[in-house]
């Protein structure tokens, strides 16, 4: 299980929303979105509408996997 944690603040909500639309499961743990999937988690940057400052600082934590892409196109977390 791959888990990506994103803090629930206004500018980050689109990240969780796009992750859910891409097939990941989005729950909450305290004030964080807990985005989980059995396989990779992929978030399309343009679909989120995030600009660079938010985009490149939106990840709070990664469990059971590692970030293999985090650029202007997408954020991708692959299972460990």
């Amino acid at each position: 299980m791959t888990a990506l944690y994103v803090l629930d603040v206004p500018e980050n909500t689109a990240v969780a929303k796009v992750a859910a639309e891409s097939g990941a499961t989005v729950g909450k743990i305290g004030p964080y979105f807990e985005i989980t999937a059995d396989g990779p988690i992929v978030v399309d940057r343009r679909a989120t509408g995030c600009r660079h400052a938010v985009w490149y600082s939106c990840v709070a934590g990664v469990a059971g996997g590692r970030i293999v892409q985090h650029d202007k196109d997408a954020l991708r977390v692959d299972p460990a």
């Binding site: 803090l7 603040v9 004030p31 400052a53 934590g61 990664v62 469990a63 590692r66 970030i67």
Partner: protein, 210 residues
């Protein structure tokens, strides 16, 4: 145990200058920062620069920026990059040279625009303006080469951001205590701390509000 937090902001932050005329022009005449204090120190310093002036400008909130002007002291380095206090050779990356700065807070966009207007009418115009989802800032260098930022928040800071900052710092301390710290290790450790603490934090906060 949490230590009681009793400090009251920045009394002053101090920098040397070799050009007091330009420094006063920039801070007092261009920015409109009142001169609020000065010390004329005769024979107080060491033998090679016994006399100096220490002068202060109000930067709001009764906080102050201060300068030292040492009579008879020549600039202490000849590097092309850096400021009058610190010079940097070609081996130092540009991002590192540009990392140290003073950021002064303003309340809203009108005030940011006003300070932009003031510096743009001067010899030290805005060099960069950035805006993203959380802050908007302008940057320039003062007559001494010190980088000065004016910044406003686009929204109030939320309580969960304080939690997140504390989890980041705790994760960072854990990661730098081990060999070969990396960003990936930080995110992995922080994920563990989120799982351990985030739910309890929210419950405690809801309890405190109830």
């Amino acid at each position: 145990m949490t230590l009681e937090h009793k400090v009251r902001g920045v009394d002053h932050t101090a920098f040397p200058t070799f050009d007091p005329a330009a420094t006063v022009r920039f801070y007092r005449d261009v920015l409109g920062f009142p001169v609020v204090h000065s010390i004329c120190a005769a024979g107080w310093g060491p033998d090679d620069h016994p006399d100096f002036i220490h002068f202060f400008f109000d930067i709001g909130n009764d906080d102050r920026i201060a300068f030292f002007y040492y009579f008879g002291l020549e600039p202490v380095h000849t590097q092309e990059r850096g400021d009058v206090h610190a010079g940097f050779g070609p081996e130092v990356p540009e991002f590192f040279v540009r990392s140290r700065h003073l950021a002064i807070h303003v309340d809203d966009q009108d005030d940011l625009v006003e300070y932009r207007r003031r510096v743009d009418d001067s010899a030290w115009p805005v060099e960069m303006q950035i805006q993203h989802e959380t802050i908007e800032s302008i940057y320039t260098h003062d007559p001494n080469g010190y980088m000065v930022e004016f910044t406003r928040a686009m929204r109030p800071v939320t309580p969960q951001e304080d939690l997140d900052a504390n989890l980041t710092i705790d994760a960072l301390l854990d990661v730098v205590a081990e060999p070969e710290p990396s960003f990936g290790k930080l995110l992995a450790r922080k994920a563990e701390l989120i799982v351990e603490r985030a739910a309890d934090w929210e419950l405690a906060r809801q309890g405190a509000e109830a």
